[in-house]
């Protein structure tokens, strides 16, 4: 076929040979392009390896049956966390490349400015939307139904759809490594720089469509969990008996419902500007980019609390469990969580104090920003008071927690500094700001997620994670974080601007080198996580969690077998107290036999998640590359899938007969009786098979 005919452009849109990143190394073998192509090759080889491994071990069938079409909230949670860990690896590697560039960046370095800009844009976008969000959504998925004594979420099919949409967004970001370039406009993608006049390529379009897809998925997740928490609680599980993690999940879900729409609107308007020549945010013809700044931060600031609240919830669970004490100040923690959720909508303007509005407006938002420090401070005191005179064990999650309490308070104090508009004018757009928000999000969010991963891992998989590699990873994260980001405070105050590939002031260089050394520790931390998983799986027979309660924990999820049966609870528990499982164990009633069993109905599998993931990706891809036929067909498939499913109704529920439930539950109870309970001194030893020896301790009244 003659390539000059208009056939190929109609099929392939604007995709051509120059879009193939993995070939660039052969055309321009500079270090910059070697890294660019190397990343593309890494995705390609990684993909091929993944397919090969799945084929070699004949895992396609089990993966399809047990995971991809499953509506089990635990399986969906696992898939979210796997996605988060993959994206974490990419985000960390990007961060390390950026730190290396800047260590070498006095008067040049090895990366081009454009490549560096793509790196910080993808790094931010990935870490927020495809690492942090899937990680916390995964934990919420796994833990919340268990903590409230439910068998599943309210809308299991919708849960699968949310996951599918999130995956499609992540897939688009991964494709951007191989085909074409990503936006150079940062994770907030401010126009007019992201308009056609400055970036006519595919970069900002990758940003737009991956965020719209993932954003819709997150909104649906928020709806799902608010209804689940309000409607699916076990009898007696009143709101004020809910574990703190469930409270924070509730607040985060409410924020998702109300905070995601501004992002969707901002991205849609930017898309209208780019695709249809609208003038929402353009320089010419009456566009107003300040609207974008307002919209994106009207989302962006509540988003910060969507990220941090579930981490606070994880810390609240961990601190009570590993201190062997009831959570101090439960009521104040609930009020603080709610206050943070509400205040989070009143501070968005502090992200652009310097954009020319009235000083009184700045003052109002500055004060509101400082106010958030109060409920957050309450929480820190509550956690410390929980540890006070507790039976504290410095396990891996507690290492994360204690480092978080120190580092997060430091980061919070730098936030109070930034909340003052007159100071913000001085350090705006410097690395001081970069140091600040990494100081909040790494010890706050990331440490919290990793602590939760370590804490709940045995519940989900039935064996504990290796603690030696856990400690190595935790300490490496802490040292790495401090070395990477504290120097950035210094150079920020010296005036070094963010998002700049290189610098000419030699005074920055020692700090940049120190930051580069920190990046080595962060790399070690990531590698240690991988090794930890490998070692833990290899040695799983020594760390079996038979009783389901390896940490002498306090909330309902630990009253179940590990790994969990699909139906979670053989019989729905009736709750009579806060921290119900701890109270029951104290009364010697931790492993009661119920008076009777009943048939259990569970929702059937669904293809909707897979359809969303595949055709969502295809839709975004079609829009990005102007393959209109692909976009139209994919969108139609998604719409028709919903209509067909609606007309056909729910898939048949699975019924598990009472006799089977009884047999399984009694077998487990019998097994529990054979396990020797361990005291907390021996918590990390092989002897711990998940049944806790009673200790004298304080319990909830």
């Amino acid at each position: 076929m003659n390539l000059t005919q208009p056939f190929w452009p109609a099929v392939l849109g604007r995709l051509d040979l120059d879009s193939l990143d993995f070939l660039k190394v052969f055309f321009h073998p500079t270090l910059n392009d070697v890294i660019l192509s190397g990343a593309a090759w890494a995705v390609l080889v990684g993909g091929v390896l993944g397919v090969a491994v799945l084929s070699y071990f004949k895992l396609w069938g089990p993966m399809w049956r047990n995971y991809l079409v499953s509506v089990d909230h635990k399986r969906i949670g696992i898939m979210y966390i796997v996605l988060a860990l993959i994206m974490l690896a990419r985000g960390v590697v990007e961060g390390v490349v950026m730190r290396t560039q800047q260590a070498d960046g006095l008067g040049g370095g090895f990366l081009s400015a454009n490549h560096y800009a793509q790196l910080f844009s993808t790094h931010g976008t990935i870490m927020i939307f495809f690492m942090a969000m899937p990680f916390l959504t995964g934990l919420i998925n796994i833990v919340v139904p268990l903590q409230i004594g439910a068998r599943d979420v309210s809308f299991p099919m919708l849960n699968s759809v949310s996951l599918g949409l999130t995956v499609s967004g992540a897939a688009l970001i991964m494709i951007s490594l191989v085909l074409g370039e990503f936006s150079t406009g940062g994770w907030t993608a401010y126009p007019p720089y992201t308009e056609m006049s400055f970036q006519p390529g595919v970069g900002p379009d990758y940003w737009i469509w991956s965020l719209i897809l993932a954003g819709v998925g997150s909104t649906l997740t928020g709806i799902n969990f608010v209804v689940t928490i309000f409607k699916e609680r076990a009898p007696g599980m009143t709101l004020m008996r809910m574990p703190m993690f469930t409270w924070t999940a509730l607040c985060a879900s409410i924020l998702l419902i109300f905070a995601l729409p501004p992002l969707t609107v901002a991205a849609l308007m930017l898309a209208a500007d780019r695709y249809l020549d609208f003038h929402f945010f353009t320089n010419a013809l009456g566009g107003n980019m300040m609207n974008f700044a307002n919209l994106v931060w009207l989302f962006g600031h509540p988003e910060v609390y969507i990220l941090i609240l579930p981490a606070f919830g994880v810390y609240s669970e961990i601190v009570a469990t590993y201190s062997g004490k009831r959570l101090y100040g439960y009521g104040s923690l609930v009020v603080a969580t709610m206050s943070i959720a509400i205040l989070s909508f009143t501070v968005w303007l502090h992200h652009f104090f310097t954009m020319g509005q009235d000083a009184n407006v700045n003052a109002a938002f500055g004060i509101a920003t400082m106010l958030i420090g109060i409920p957050t401070g309450v929480k820190v005191y509550d956690w410390m008071a929980t540890m006070y005179r507790g039976r504290v064990r410095m396990t891996v999650p507690m290492i994360y927690l204690s480092s978080f309490m120190v580092l997060f308070v430091l980061g919070g104090l730098s936030g109070i500094i930034l909340a003052n508009p007159s100071i913000d004018f001085q350090v705006h757009n410097t690395l001081f700001l970069v140091a600040h928000f990494h100081n909040m999000l790494i010890p706050g969010l990331l440490f919290g997620m990793l602590a939760g991963y370590t804490y709940w891992f045995p519940k989900v998989f039935g064996f504990r994670l290796n603690d030696r590699w856990g400690y190595i990873s935790a300490y490496s994260w802490i040292v790495g974080f401090v070395l990477v980001f504290f120097p950035l405070y210094v150079v920020g105050l010296m005036g070094m601007t963010r998002r700049t590939v290189s610098y000419v002031d030699p005074a920055y260089q020692p700090w940049m080198l120190m930051s580069g050394v920190g990046a080595i520790f962060v790399t070690v931390a990531l590698a240690a996580l991988v090794v930890q998983l490998y070692v833990s799986i290899r040695e799983r027979n020594y760390t079996r969690d038979i009783g389901g309660d390896p940490w002498d924990a306090r909330t309902l999820e630990w009253a179940t077998p590990s790994p969990l049966p699909a139906y979670n609870f053989a019989v729905i528990p009736h709750v009579h107290a806060r921290e119900a499982f701890a109270v029951a164990k104290e009364a010697g009633r931790g492993y009661q036999e119920p008076t009777g069993y009943a048939d259990i109905h569970l929702p059937g599998d669904t293809y909707m998640g897979v359809i969303m993931a595949v055709f969502g990706t295809a839709f975004g891809f079609g829009m990005i590359w102007y393959m209109w036929w692909l976009a139209v067909v994919s969108f139609a498939v998604m719409a028709v899938a919903f209509i067909v499913r609606a007309l056909r109704g729910d898939r048949a529920a699975i019924t598990i007969p009472a006799a089977q439930v009884e047999a399984e539950h009694k077998a487990w109870l019998a097994q529990v009786r054979t396990v020797t309970p361990v005291t907390r001194e021996r918590e990390l030893e092989h002897a711990n098979h998940g049944v806790a020896a009673p200790e004298t301790k304080e319990v909830a009244a």
Partner: protein, 214 residues
């Protein structure tokens, strides 16, 4: 700290107890309706932001020398659209009542058909209104103000279109299977959606059309 235990009936076990499985009323309709309310709150934020954006664009800078609201909008067309949509909300109300009082499915289908027809009239009028504006050169590419107008008003129109497709699906479902529990539950949600769009339209009529001509 907690006084939860004192609120329990005397003689209860502390912590957990396991009774026989309660015959759980799963109340799927109630959950679905709650979820739908939340979805509409989320959707309302989207409309609110488009309204806010429109509000910021009612300034000479954003007119960019192009047509202004006073030159563009006409009350008769918008008033007819309003009449069609408000009447459709009334007829949908009759459909809901017909379901509630177990009228024959023909009556329900009849009211839904009238609702659908009025929805189509609304969309037809709206499209002709847009066509007239396009003919006058008032295209979204002309100015920031027109971009925000064509962001807000057709967004509502797209919602009405989606509602109409849903309405057709409901009519198919009713015609095939009668008034089942699933129909009742879905129709309650569609009614909520349809009335919601009415409220949004009242906002558009007041802010965009009446406000623009004031």
């Amino acid at each position: 700290m907690s006084h939860a235990a004192t609120m329990e009936p005397a003689g209860q076990n502390p912590g957990l107890t396991f009774g026989a499985e309660h015959a759980h009323d799963h109340d799927h309709a109630g959950k679905a309706l709650s979820g739908f309310w939340l979805f509409m709150m989320s959707d309302l934020i989207i409309f609110g932001l488009f309204f806010a954006t429109y509000g910021t664009m009612l300034v000479p800078m954003s007119f960019a020398g192009g047509p202004t609201p006073k030159e563009l909008f006409e009350i008769p067309g918008a008033a007819m659209e309003t009449a069609a949509l408000l009447t459709s909300t009334l007829t949908f109300g009759f459909a809901s009542l017909a379901v509630k009082y177990n009228f024959a499915k023909g009556k329900v289908l009849g009211w839904l058909a009238i609702t659908l027809a009025l929805g189509m009239v609304f969309l037809g009028l709206e499209i002709s209104e847009f066509a007239r504006m396009f003919a006058e050169g008032a295209v979204p590419q002309r100015s920031g103000f027109l971009s925000s107008f064509f962001g807000l008003v057709p967004l509502h129109g797209a919602h009405v279109t989606a509602g109409s497709i849903w309405l057709i699906m409901m009519m198919v479902q009713i015609a095939r299977g009668g008034i089942t529990d699933s129909v009742r539950s879905r129709l309650a949600r569609l009614a909520l959606f349809w009335h919601f769009l009415d409220i949004i339209w009242i906002g558009i009529f007041s802010v965009v059309y009446l406000g623009g001509l004031a």
